[in-house]
Symmetry: C2
Subunit: 193 residues, 2 copies
């Protein structure tokens, strides 16, 4: 909450959910449930952290995160697309070897993708996703506009500073001249007396 906020839309932009942690989720196509290490929020990182499987960290840090994933991580499920797999079997049930927080919950294992409940949940999530993305798009647009306004304002301010500086120089010059004259007058007066 108190992250030395700048009281600006821009800061609000950078931290949408007040430090929400993406927790990469490890690109779950039909591959793994790898332990998640990379916990740096995207908005705080240098913009290169995306995936999360630890064997891709090096590439990500080097700015090459868009290179092809190792084939072992790519969803190459036999026909049907990566989303047609029934509840992420990942080829076998190794849940018992994983921490409770990482293994597939028992109540999630028997999801019928044709069930009305599933479709209802999916549809609700789809709506939420669209809403969230619209929000993000608006945030981006606002930030752009803000930046542009600031840039224009900056230009005007610089111009104003130039004007003021020049005016100051002029006045200073005038004053120094008067100082000179005043000094001369004083000198002559003294010599006269």
């Amino acid at each position: 909450m108190s992250e030395s906020r700048v009281s600006s839309v821009i800061q609000e932009w950078a931290y949408p959910g007040q430090g929400h942690n993406p927790a990469p989720s490890g690109h779950v196509g039909s591959s793994s449930q790898l332990p998640q290490i990379n916990m740096i929020p995207y908005s705080q990182s240098q913009g290169l952290v995306r995936g999360g499987a630890d064997d891709r960290m090096a590439e990500q840090m080097m700015g090459l995160s868009y290179l092809p994933y190792p084939s072992s991580c790519i969803s190459t499920s036999p026909s049907g697309g990566n989303h047609s797999n029934q509840q992420q079997n990942h080829g076998g049930d190794f849940s018992s070897f994983l921490l409770p927080s990482l293994r597939v919950p028992a109540n999630k294992r028997s999801i019928n993708k044709d069930s009305p409940e599933y479709r209802l949940r999916r549809e609700r999530n789809n709506i939420a996703v669209r809403k969230s993305r619209d929000k993000a798009r608006r945030r981006i647009m606002l930030t752009q506009q803000k930046a542009q306004q600031l840039q224009e304002e900056n230009k005007k301010l610089q111009l104003r500073i130039g004007q003021l500086t020049q005016e100051l120089d002029t006045l200073r010059h005038i004053l120094s001249q008067r100082h000179l004259h005043a000094a001369e007058d004083g000198a002559t007066e003294e010599t006269v007396i």
Copy 2:
């Protein structure tokens, strides 16, 4: 090419592909090949144009684009996920009734999703997508940082303007005083003489 560019990172941000036209694509899950009308680039719109199916335009313009799609537009394919359908049959071949630019090209109709060519194209596109999104993320971060820097610089400039203004007032005051004294001296001299 020559869109009256502002020669700024910000403008570069707003027009990534020099006026690239998203051409909404009409949310092709397994539903329609609706005529595309909405040709406003996202970056030029008010941030609400997303879909493109004309029967959703009203909602989008009202800022309610995240509301549920009409069920007729929602991918409710029977099991297998929306991407597992074989090359968008859409339940029937009405291509001959559509304009050439809207109908599914003949050479696209016999895509074998298991073929190495398809997988190769998909993998290439996935890489391109990751790359593009990384780029977008970096752009966003840059715009944020830019806006923040501009805001800070703005503050400093305003401060400087305040200083200069005050200095100017001081000098002006001094000058007016000297003018006064000079006038007084002149007056006394005249009276004396």
